[in-house]
């Protein structure tokens, strides 16, 4: 009986909750490893690891439950017989988490409790609920499935059911790195071996089963099954001792992708391992025409027109289009520029050094005529500045520095790949909300929602609207001073969040501005961070939403150096 209970979803939810309530990553890893060891079948083990590490679906499946927060939140309000606008929304604002609100309301409200009949459903049953949700498309159908699922669960299960469905973090302080460690610990393997297999399979569930069966060596690279991408660290966070070990490439402001090719069969995968082949028919055609041998390339898709790489904002018009029209294809033609090769001659070549992979890539590029990045050996630090300026003149984001001896490994591998970027710009913003900090910043308000002015903007009734949330970039001294000021200007308190009177002006730096229709401002900033606290400025000096719109337009219309001389990439 007790063994049987291990494969319930309740047991998984309880394990996740215990991990959440435990401090220290080793202790968390131990709890997860013990849990894995108690699961008896491969199916249960695979599902448990996937739920904890990836979500409702494996990353490579490309599937989504596609249930919006409004769909499940309004349903939860209905089940509790409470008003969504008047009761649910303020509760959500106070806790900041829909799944936590729903767990609490289902626990607290007698009208919802009466509907409950927990059944201790199994992991496999939950899996089929997610499958079922993926198959239907209307809100009514999804809500019906959710209702039937929820009434069989405890509120704790519902909370984790939602977090797993959302593919976001489970918010238990246990990310994929820790899961890999837990698998290694449970089944007595080296962490690096588990990592490698995870990269190959792209699935934490499969990796766990292979580890349990002692079959890690069996994991193989399969063409048309994407592997996890290698990522770069910001150069600011790493000390580089010897630049001559690195090569430089321009960092394109495009879309990272992996292309798998076998004769006429071509598939393109995005960074989150989704198949995006249909969106880029001209790229597929480009590569099929060239009759390449079986290969896998890593590179960047950009809009390329009149010998010029055009801004990312234009590429966005192509992303997500299942069947781009002729007009769109003509207006925003794309090109895939490769910079790495991962598979050749029937086998993966991640273990070869970058220099070796690059030699092979260059040979293939000249033989089959496809574009690859221009690569420069770095002479010294000044040389980097020179190359950086050229990259910016091309309209690119900056530089990638890659260690010549590095192998291809997924995730961020310390100093193997470094990115050098120029800040996208800065604006003066008003501090609107202060959020209690976490970890070593506990006890102070260290995260802030910042806003731009819409005082004279006929489209809005407010004075300020949020444009981004930022933390860090200030000294301990400055944080202390801000906290003292915040005490004086607090207008409202929502649990750990304070609503502030408009007084503190922050110069905010960011990487880029993007359109985001789901925000009040219609724009979001990428990587907003503090540049300076402007005690010298007043709320009247805060930049307006119109200023942000103007900056956005300027970025799109920026003059870009053509690729005729000193190009960022070469063909053949």
């Amino acid at each position: 009986m007790s063994n049987q209970a291990q494969n319930t979803f309740l047991q998984l939810a309880k394990t996740a909750q215990t991990i959440n309530e435990t401090r220290g990553s080793n202790a968390k890893i131990k709890i997860c490893a013990e849990y894995f060891k108690l699961l008896e079948t491969d199916e249960d083990l695979q599902m448990a690891a996937q739920f904890l590490g990836e979500g409702a679906f494996s990353d490579v499946s490309g599937k989504r439950a596609s249930v919006g927060s409004r769909t499940y939140s309004t349903l939860a309000a209905d089940l509790c017989e409470i008003d969504y606008e008047k009761v649910f929304k303020p509760s959500k604002t106070a806790t900041g988490s829909s799944s936590e609100v729903i767990e609490k309301l289902f626990t607290n409200i007698p009208e919802s409790r009466a509907k409950w009949d927990p059944q201790h459903i199994s992991l496999q049953e939950v899996k089929s609920i997610y499958d079922h949700l993926e198959e239907v498309s209307s809100r009514a159908d999804k809500q019906e499935i959710l209702t039937n699922a929820w009434i069989q669960m405890t509120p704790l299960e519902v909370k984790y059911f939602l977090r797993i469905m959302g593919r976001g973090s489970l918010r238990i302080g246990f990310e994929s790195k820790s899961i890999v460690s837990a698998i290694a610990k449970a089944f007595k393997h080296k962490v690096d071996e588990v990592r490698y297999v995870h990269m190959l399979t792209g699935s934490i569930g499969k990796t766990t089963v292979l580890a349990q069966q002692d079959n890690l060596a069996e994991a193989r690279f399969n063409l048309f099954q994407p592997i996890a991408f290698m990522l770069a660290s910001p150069i600011e966070s790493r000390a580089v001792d010897n630049y001559s070990n690195y090569v430089a490439e321009e960092k394109f402001d495009g879309m990272r992708c992996q292309i798998h090719i076998k004769g006429d069969n071509v598939k393109i995968f995005s960074r989150d391992l989704n198949d995006v082949t249909q969106s880029f028919p001209e790229i597929v055609e480009y590569f099929t025409e060239r009759s390449l041998p079986e290969i896998v390339l890593d590179g960047e898709i950009c809009v390329f027109k009149d010998d010029t790489i055009l801004p990312f904002q234009l590429l966005q018009k192509r992303m997500g289009l299942k069947k781009p029209s002729k007009k769109v294809l003509q207006e925003y033609p794309t090109l895939l520029i490769s910079y790495d090769i991962l598979f050749y001659d029937g086998q993966p070549i991640f273990e070869k050094t970058l220099a070796e992979r690059r030699t092979l890539l260059s040979e293939l590029s000249s033989k089959f005529n496809f574009p690859i990045t221009t690569q420069q050996h770095i002479r010294d630090k000044d040389h980097i500045d020179e190359l950086f300026e050229l990259a910016l003149a091309h309209g690119n984001e900056g530089l990638m520095l890659k260690h010549r001896d590095s192998t291809y490994e997924y995730g961020q591998r310390r100093k193997s790949w470094l990115k050098v970027k120029k800040p996208g710009g800065s604006i003066d913003t008003i501090m609107m909300y202060a959020h209690a900090g976490s970890g070593k910043r506990g006890g102070t308000y260290s995260d802030f929602t910042l806003g731009v002015s819409v005082r004279d903007d006929e489209r809005y009734e407010e004075e300020f609207i949020p444009i981004g949330k930022a933390y860090g970039g200030y000294t301990d001294e400055e944080l202390k001073k801000m906290n003292a000021k915040i005490k004086e200007i607090t207008a409202e308190k929502y649990g750990p969040t304070l609503g502030l009177l408009p007084e503190i002006v922050i110069e905010l730096e960011f990487d880029d501005i993007q359109v985001n229709k789901r925000t009040k401002a219609n724009f979001t900033l990428r990587f907003p961070r503090f540049k300076a606290i402007r005690w010298d400025l007043s709320p009247d000096d805060v930049d307006t939403l119109k200023d942000v719109e103007h900056l956005y337009k300027e970025k799109i219309d920026q003059e870009r150096l053509s690729q005729k001389d000193q190009p960022s990439f070469i063909i053949g």
């Binding site: 309530e21 401090r23 509790c80 009761v87 509760s91 609490k104």
Partner: protein, 330 residues
């Protein structure tokens, strides 16, 4: 009905009666202080007389109140020229009082901060035996996400936390506000017969509990050199400012109504969250209003008065937020 003015940060004024409640403005002859927490003690007084229960007066003196305070024990009444005023136990902290005002304009009950069922380290909770015309209630936890576990569960959590930490050679640390919550924890853990050290700011207030006959067990003031292995009690701000930082093996629990929020765990880096509150929860608030059926309920001390109002509307109980300019019909 009585007129009520919310005077910004100055508390509440009943202009017809010249009475102020937790009030520090210039327009009241008589001021009544609900309890000894800093956000309720008037920071100055222009009144002819300021009244508080004896324990509240003691807390005020220890927290630096300079003006003169008259003692008004629970259930005894003061008659002003226009009103009769009586304190009833509010169950929030020692000495905390609800203020009951009777006048020709009708009566009024101002809760201050309160908790029902009451904290065991207080004089209890008691309502005046009367139909209430005007009810001014705090609503700190005014959302249905707030429902406290039973007191038995909370007590078991608190005792279990201390016991298991001590058994495993860890020093248990309770993060608890230094007036009220700290003493409630001490009152509970005294049954473990283990020495307690409390942060200095809270220590000087414990004397009042001793005087009032609330048993806080075997305690002394915090001493960095001898604190290891004792049960420690301090406010959450102290733990990041060096409190017991020399004790490596310690377990920390945060004791507050806000501990009901998961996010507090990572914000404070604690081992355990115990949602024990000095305030009543949302459901207790609504059911108290249902029981009292006041002619008018004013909701204060909350960012979400409209949620409470919505629930009271559904139950046919008239209410409004005290943040709005309140001008009731009279």
């Amino acid at each position: 009905m009585l007129k009520i003015t919310k005077a910004g940060n100055h508390g509440i004024l009943l202009p017809q009666l010249s009475i102020g409640l937790d009030y520090s403005g210039k327009k009241a002859d008589y001021v009544f202080v609900s309890h000894g927490h800093a956000d309720h003690i008037p920071w100055k007084s222009y009144a002819k007389a300021v009244y508080a229960t004896p324990p509240t007066k003691e807390f005020m003196i220890r927290r630096g109140t300079k003006y003169e305070v008259q003692e008004l024990p629970f259930r005894e009444s003061i008659e002003t020229d226009k009103a009769k005023v009586t304190f009833y136990p509010a169950g929030h902290i020692l000495g905390s009082a609800m203020t009951f005002v009777e006048s020709d304009f009708g009566n009024l009950l101002y809760t201050g901060d309160y908790r029902t069922p009451a904290s065991p380290a207080t004089e209890g909770f008691e309502l005046p035996d009367a139909e209430i015309d005007t009810f001014i209630t705090e609503a700190t936890f005014s959302l249905p996400v707030y429902k406290w576990p039973s007191y038995e569960e909370l007590k078991a959590d608190i005792m279990g936390f201390a016991r298991s930490a001590l058994e495993e050679n860890y020093t248990p640390v309770f993060l608890a506000y230094n007036l009220g919550k700290a003493q409630e924890i001490m009152h509970l853990v005294k049954d473990l017969n283990h020495p307690v050290q409390i942060h200095g700011a809270g220590f000087k207030l414990c004397e009042v509990y001793d005087q009032e006959g609330i048993d806080l067990g075997n305690y002394e003031t915090y001493n960095r050199d001898t604190c290891e292995g004792k049960i420690l009690v301090c406010p959450s701000s102290a733990i990041n400012n060096g409190f017991a930082s020399n004790v490596r093996k310690k377990r920390i629990t945060y004791c507050s109504g806000w501990a009901a929020m998961e996010s507090r765990r990572s914000q404070l880096t604690v081992d355990k969250l115990i949602p024990i509150s000095d305030h009543l929860d949302f459901f207790e608030l609504i059911s108290l209003c249902e029981h009292l059926q006041p002619k008018m309920t004013y909701i204060t001390h909350t960012p979400n008065p409209n949620v409470v109002k919505h629930y009271l509307d559904e139950r046919g109980i008239p209410s409004q937020s005290l943040y709005m300019e309140a001008e009731p019909n009279d």
